[in-house]
């Protein structure tokens, strides 16, 4: 029964989700909304699991004397407690994160800059990854390098300045647009079609119970 019940639930929910796509009549749409609500409730309860696990793992790391992670564990526990206490008692009550509260102050002045910093790192990583990706090691890689060079040059003003003598429609920005609109989109669509079929096939396997490895075991 440990496998059968989850498999039956997957089958029932999967079939209802497919049916409601084609039949807008009650009860199908309502059922899907209900399933979505249930998932939200499950997620809400699971937050406790995550929070407690984070504290447990960090405490273990902190208590392990030779662990080089112990100081990070202390930082995690203190930050967790700080944000939890301020969030619970200084966030504006039921309004949650009202402007001007201490929680809002932390969010705007600590969380947001930290997130932005992580996002900004992408700019540097794009440069290093591009450096490796755009090396002319083979015929295909050379083609990619050439396309990337044209697109990058066409996306900045100097591209059109260099090719300003050419008639409109043949300048670098036009070439870049053409590459992005046709070959690039064609490639992306081919991948998207494969993905869509892959999702359909995987979903069918899950709904029919052919694929049960997510329940543990083979």
């Amino acid at each position: 029964m440990r496998r059968e019940i989850p498999t039956f639930i997957a089958l029932f929910v999967g079939v209802v989700c497919i049916v409601q796509f084609f039949i807008p009549h009650r009860p199908f749409g309502t059922l899907v909304d209900t399933f979505s609500d249930w998932f939200g409730i499950l997620q809400a309860f699971a937050i406790w699991l995550g929070a407690l696990n984070l504290l447990r793992v960090s405490t273990q790391r902190t208590l392990a004397k030779k662990s080089h992670d112990r100081w990070y564990g202390i930082v995690v526990i203190l930050s967790f407690l700080l944000i939890a206490i301020i969030g619970l008692f200084f966030s504006g009550g039921r309004g949650f994160q009202l402007a001007g509260t201490r929680f809002d102050y932390l969010y705007v002045n600590v969380y947001t800059p930290l997130s932005s910093t992580m996002f900004a790192i992408l700019a540097f990583f794009v440069a290093s990854a591009s450096y490796r990706a755009f090396r002319a090691r083979s015929w295909e890689a050379t083609l990619l390098l050439l396309a990337a060079f044209l697109v990058m040059l066409g996306r900045v003003p100097v591209g059109d300045t260099l090719t300003g003598f050419l008639p409109e429609g043949y300048r670098l920005s036009d070439v870049a647009s053409w590459i992005m609109t046709y070959p690039q989109v064609a490639g992306q669509r081919a991948i998207m079609i494969g993905i869509a079929l892959g999702v359909a096939s995987a979903s069918l396997r899950l709904i029919l119970g052919l694929e049960r490895s997510y329940l543990g075991g083979e």
Binding site: L114, L204, L210, G217
Partner: protein, 412 residues
């Protein structure tokens, strides 16, 4: 029933009141526009009966005549005598509005009110409302079939039939050929390398929850990786960003160790939660990677902008990296930064590929047949369009536009 009145200090786009009955007629200030005519309601097609399309003929003063119509307010009542409540607004020039707040089976009447700005000497202009006649009775009716999705239904039936046919064929012993997938062939090698080096294996099952098929596909591959890791006695660590994923991953890793005959080697704390936050998770993984310097990194599941941050950090410490995702915008990053990348559908094929289970392999063959049908359809479409037999059209011109470079940096 035509009422002319002035209300409120200044015109705004928002409805002036919940009930027109509450709006007291005050001073009439000509010139007022003529009201819209021919107000009618019709049941919105292909829905669950909770929408009605209201349409009307423009006021003669909308774009012509006095040309002073600013907008229209749509009012709804359950009786032609009122009261009528404001349910929405439409800009001047528009002749329809979809009221998506109705109850299926309830009878409604609609009034459309033209709004104009009446000049006030020495002051700001005041809005003037002039109402149409109420519409005939209309009600929302739930439909039993979404007629515009007939093509999708046909596609689903064909695809599912092909998949089921090949599953049955594979069950009955017919051999199924599938090409080699480099990334999956390299799983054993990657785990073996970590074992030889005495370093950890990090497995990242994406940043989405259990309702995402990619996460499920990633967890399926985790089962295989965990089994090989248990066989080789390698150290496996699975930091996750969702609590439900953590629970599932624990079950899968535990079962894998059990199946490998090494239940004693399973450590519950090897699968742990970091944070739901996208960049907090990326920062957490980066910290772990820089400190622990794992020999092997797996990224299998749904990723957003954090993909390159993770993969470049793994690359910087020289880890062997295998990635797989069905997020087209993130694929180029994984291809650039990882040793092997499962591209799109390969991620979903992994479970069949790794298990060699005939039923699962059959579903891959069915998938290929679906791809062949789509290919033929596209070719026929190209030919028909080229000779002018059909014309492609889209309701949203934006959909035909090129992909925006901004999507590559999508924040969840």
């Amino acid at each position: 029933m035509i009422v002319l009145f002035v209300h409120g200090p200044a015109f705004t786009q928002s409805p002036p009141s919940d009930s027109m009955a509450a709006i007291a007629p005050t001073v009439a200030e000509p010139p007022a526009p003529h009201p819209p005519t021919g107000v009618r309601g019709s049941d919105a097609p292909n829905d669950n009966g909770e929408a009605i399309i209201v349409s009307w003929n423009l006021s003669p003063d909308d774009g012509a005549g006095l040309d002073n119509v600013e907008s229209y307010l749509i009012l709804r009542g359950t009786s032609p005598d009122g009261p009528f409540d404001t349910v929405g607004a439409a800009a001047a020039g528009q002749t329809s509005f979809t009221d998506a707040t109705v109850h299926s089976g309830t009878i409604y009447h609609y009034i459309v009110s033209a709004v104009a700005l009446a000049p006030v000497p020495g002051g700001e202009p005041k809005p003037v409302y002039i109402q149409s006649e109420p519409s005939a009775a209309v009600q929302g009716v739930a439909q039993w079939f979404h007629s515009r999705r007939l093509n999708a239904l046909i596609a689903v039936i064909i695809l599912c039939s092909a998949i089921l046919y090949f599953i049955n064929a594979a069950r009955s012993g017919k051999s199924v050929y599938i090409r080699k997938i480099g990334g999956l062939e390299a799983v054993d090698e990657a785990v073996g390398r970590a074992t030889e080096m005495g370093k950890k294996i990090f497995y990242i099952p994406g940043t989405q929850d259990m309702d995402e098929v990619q996460t499920l596909a990633g967890i399926t591959i985790l089962g295989r990786v965990a089994k090989v890791a248990a066989d080789y006695e390698a150290k496996l660590e699975v930091p996750v960003s969702r609590s439900l994923v953590m629970v599932t991953c624990r079950e899968v890793v535990k079962e894998a160790f059990l199946n490998a005959g090494r239940p004693d080697a399973y450590r519950e704390e090897s699968v742990y939660y970091l944070t739901d936050d996208q960049f907090g998770y990326a920062a957490g993984i980066d910290g772990l990677v820089m400190r622990d310097k794992p020999a092997t990194m797996f990224y299998m599941g749904a990723f957003y902008a954090e993909s390159l941050i993770l993969a470049e950090t793994g690359n910087s410490i020289g880890a062997i990296q295998i990635a797989g995702t069905a997020m087209p915008a993130q694929l180029p990053f994984f291809v650039a930064a990882c040793d092997y990348t499962l591209i799109g559908e390969e991620l979903f094929a992994a479970s069949a590929y790794l298990s060699k289970e005939p039923k699962l392999l059959g579903s891959l063959k069915g998938q290929d047949v679906g791809k062949g049908i789509i290919l033929v359809t596209i070719l026929v479409g190209i030919i028909l369009t080229s000779i002018g037999a059909i014309t492609l059209k889209t309701s949203d011109p934006e959909k035909l536009g090129p992909y925006n470079i901004g999507q590559y940096f999508e924040v969840e």
